[in-house]
């Protein structure tokens, strides 16, 4: 039982906690980062076993170079090297040539023209150009500034000097399915593109305003050389080198509130960390129904936190040590894709699959996506060998303790039916119960800390009382995946919270906003 005094206590040493801590420690604040597990990194977990590196959680990085911290912390020089595979996605469908998406959208258009049809190619080219523009000019800059209410943001975009705002607004209200129809995208291309969005547990009927970002970024994604944990390791070193303290195995059980303001945290071991400010990267249920005494909070906030919705689907993972990289057929490019999907070519069938998983049915034929990171990064496996990773959407509620082994075999068999040379030397199954056991914030395997649904997105993430990182408790901030802009290793929550705290504490920031943000201000995309 000790008492320690710091300027800022941060709960959770996942990417957002580490990022927030590193920015604040860099400003000279005395920051303590409290982590319940024995290792930092949260979802940035790479298991190194027998020379094989298994990315147990996050693997594809959508905003690798866009994250402000990448440049602000010089992560490039701290061992964070990204690989952007030329072939980003391959859809292996029986009876058809593979459907490939290259990093270069034009190359994809050429491929589609040759292997699908000229109309499909034209439709893709038009849509990709728009999505790229929407993402680069609007969606990426907006990821790293405090959100406005949806209606206000729409008005800003309408009035923007660049007409991209108005063009984006035209589709932002539509569903992903409607957007695909508006661009005259047809199956099998339609199912493939819709899947780049729904594979993350998002509904085909909602959140169309995010759809362009996912299609654009999921075809320009990266792997971290040496494994995803290298990113958190570099963030950790940045934090420690700036004088920050990491307390691991320090599970926070209570946030102290005194006179309406935050006063510190208490760990499960009874240690007290008194702090001028507290940042939580945990979910609203933890923050407002477990950590803080409800009598210190507005009733509406406690109620809202109690109604927080978890994702309806989660992931089942299988990690393989392989003798060879999987071979799907004679097309060399199809064998060198970053992500490979099987049997996704028919939108009604995909919709039916999503519906059944959302309703709690365990798919007999799982729709997996797989990657073989050692194809692009030799550090991922011993020389001459490979690492394979399978992931598919499943419901959380199943008797995982009993069925995990058998279901892993089903997944491996499914993969092997597309790549007959698949020969695992080792199989590690990773059921969704493990996600929750490791990361308490990811309740029910909710890896984004809560569903992406309109009422929990944007300005409303986690809710209107805790928007823009602030909460009704003075100097208590939220920064995790349950705050704007969400999870998926965007590095947004931690960055925005650091900005909010820097403003509150009147700190001299030693970082500047990214160039793309300045451009968005000039174009009137970001309100002055």
């Amino acid at each position: 039982m000790t008492v320690k005094h710091v300027d800022v206590a941060i709960i959770g040493a996942g990417p957002n906690g580490l990022i927030c801590g590193a920015y604040l420690a860099g400003c000279g604040l005395n920051v303590a980062l409290l982590e319940a597990r024995h290792e930092t990194g949260g979802g940035l977990e790479t298991l190194e076993l027998s020379g094989f590196r298994y990315n147990l959680h996050a693997v594809y990085h959508m905003m690798a170079l866009q994250m402000p911290c990448y440049h602000d912390f010089g992560l490039d020089q701290k061992g964070v090297k990204y690989v952007f595979p030329d072939v980003q996605c391959a859809y292996i469908n029986a009876g058809r040539p593979p459907l490939l998406f290259y990093r270069n959208g034009e190359k994809t258009a050429d491929y589609l023209a040759r292997h699908l049809s000229p109309e499909d190619s034209r439709a893709w080219r038009r849509m990709h150009a728009d999505f790229k523009e929407f993402s680069e000019k609007i969606l990426i800059p907006l990821t790293y500034i405090p959100p406005l209410p949806f209606v206000e943001q729409t008005l800003v975009l309408d009035k923007a000097r660049d007409d991209v705002g108005r063009r984006y607004n035209e589709i932002a209200d539509l569903t992903p399915l409607d957007i695909l129809d508006a661009y005259k995208i047809k199956d099998p291309l339609k199912a493939a593109l819709l899947n780049l969005f729904t594979m993350w547990g998002m509904s085909p009927y909602e959140l169309g305003f995010l759809f362009p970002l996912y299609v654009y970024r999921m075809t320009d994604a990266a792997l971290v050389r040496g494994g995803s944990h290298r990113l958190s390791s570099a963030l950790y070193r940045t934090f420690v080198a700036s004088g920050g303290t990491v307390l691991d195995r320090a599970e926070v059980v209570r946030i102290l509130v005194e006179k309406g303001g935050v006063a510190g945290v208490v760990t499960a071991g009874g240690d007290e960390i008194r702090a001028k400010a507290v940042v939580s990267t945990c979910n609203p249920e933890q923050n407002f129904t477990q950590f803080i005494d409800p009598s210190e909070l507005p009733t509406e906030l406690v109620e809202s936190a109690g109604k927080w919705e978890w994702e309806k689907t989660t992931f089942f993972g299988v990690h393989l040590a392989l003798k060879e990289s999987p071979v799907y057929g004679p097309d060399e490019d199809a064998n060198r894709a970053m992500i490979t999907f099987f049997d996704i070519q028919d939108t009604p069938r995909l919709l039916e699959h999503l519906r059944s998983v959302e309703q709690g049915e365990l798919p007999e034929i799982p729709l997996g996506h797989v990657t073989c990171p050692s194809l692009f990064d030799p550090l991922h496996a011993p020389e001459g060998l490979h690492t394979g990773r399978w992931e598919c959407l499943v419901p959380f509620d199943a008797d995982w303790e009993t069925i995990t082994g058998g279901y892993a075999q089903t997944c491996v068999d499914r993969w092997k039916s597309a790549a007959p040379n698949l020969e695992p030397l080792n199989v590690l199954a990773y059921p969704p119960t493990y996600i929750e056991k490791k990361n308490q914030s990811m309740k029910r395997g909710s890896y984004k800390h809560g569903a992406y649904i309109p009422l929990q997105m944007g300005y409303l993430r986690p809710n209107d009382m805790c928007s823009r990182n602030f909460t009704p408790v003075e100097r208590f901030y939220v920064a995790g995946a349950s705050s704007y802009p969400g999870g998926m290793i965007l590095g947004g929550g931690g960055y925005l919270a650091a900005n909010a705290i820097a403003a509150d504490f009147g700190l001299d920031k030693n970082w500047q906003e990214p160039i793309y943000m300045q451009a968005a201000r000039q174009a009137g995309i970001i309100a002055d």
Partner: protein
Amino acid sequence: MPDYDVIVIGGGINGLTCAAYLGKAGLKTLLIEARGECGAHCDTVEASIPGYLFNLHAVWMITPISPAMVDLELEKYGLEWRTTEYAWAKTFADGKNMLSGNDPFLTVDKAGRHSARDAKTIHKGINFFMDNLYEACQVMHDYIFTAPSQANVKKVTDIVDRFFRAAKVNCSGEKFMQMNGYEILDILFESEYVKTTAHALSWIGAYNPLQKQIGAMGSALIGLLLGPFFPSVVVKGGSHELTHVLVQACIDNGVTVMPNCPVKTIITENNRAGGVILSDRALYPGETITAQKVVSNVTAGPTFLDMIGEDKLGPDMTARLKKFDYDEQNLFTVHFALNGQPQFASAEYDDGIQRAYMGYMGGETSAEMMRFGRNIAPDKRRIHDDIICNYFITTLADPLQAPAGCHTTHMWLDVPPDPAEWKFGPLKGFSDWDSLKQGLADQMTDTYEKYAPGFKSLIKDRLIYTPLDMYRNNPSAVKGNWAGGSLTPGQYYENRPVAGVITGGGTRTFIENLYLSNSVHHFSNSSLASGYIAACDVAEDMNARNQDWWQSQGFHWYLQNCSRFPRDLGVNP
């Protein structure tokens, strides 16, 4: 101007120790590691059900004897030790057991249940070491933490000799140094329970009891001294915490730590080392980094044959290094996640066995232990028919390594790395591990059940780790050898790694400015001795050895602090 004063290749615990000392001594030091994480032999992974931590290799640690505890202030970074009431146990098929206590008089009591004479001998040994504690410490410090020399051997010989005389043992120090483990224990003890308990402990320290001197040192010295005089502890939070602590000590002392950077070449010119070239697999492929001194924490084979190359070594040295042997016994490990504590059948005889985090099962007599040793030796390479192996229940000492009330356990079976046969037929060698591992693990699981009935019903998950896995994990561990090369008389102490490699004493090799912090010291294990001696040598050669903070003596910190190490924190009520 070279980029660095010193480059240390390999972030195992000895490389890290060396780098941290040199950084603290003010030298501009770079540590490069091939893997993503430092500390290859100190891996702790959560590879199974969350909450269960498996220590893939090192788990019994002797680090508290290291001067680094004080010099590098390792406790400051959160390093804590845990143990159990009993430091070592052996359970027998007839339902009896033999236990070594962290309290030495417990060992006397337990041996007394098997033989009054043996208890008396142990008692005399304890009295002798207590009476001569600080002198014994000095002898052991010199033997372990300074460069191998005949003078050091003489000091050990002398003190052993005095013990024999004090205890009226019919042996001399000189004879002791020529004996194997079986010969000396036959003189010291009469009970097979006592003798095999010591033999088994010698195996686990990689001290094959069949080897001359090596076996005597392992069986008699470690066997007698374990616990009160020699640590039997685990790291709180898992062995990888030691790596974390050493990495933090490195960073704190200004060392640059670069993971994911396998080295292709140690640059040598005119028989002088001057830097490294990174491999094409590295994060910074093909990069050249220069330094005044290079320390290799990679084992001798790959250091010279791969990173320097035969053309630079010349035919004579190449031939010698090619004979450097990695063929002695290696470890086949099975890890288990359990939802309760194993109950040994022999707990009825003495329930102290339930409070021992490490022990041994099988090998009922010295003759059987010897047959086992001969079967797995390089000239036979047979996986022994019966399972005779170590076990650990780390969570008895440190409950943080499993969910509340649950436990981890693992079994260490000594095996030939290149097996030629086992009871089911001939084998092709090293490459066979992937295919034979399940069958062997099943046999081991059955053995555990035999000694601890009900064991199988506790199992939630199982992870197998073979010598081939060890090699894949860390190619410096050729054939999965974890001792930096076999401990055989030709590769022992002053001869290590092989005659002619160390020419400047300690860790200085025949290549100027190249030092070894692996494959040099026979007694490194987790004492950090190899890294410590390499740091002494490099610092001395760079006029940086004279530091106020750099003068503590091995064993002192342990003797002063061991009584406060928490015990039995994870023993189920």
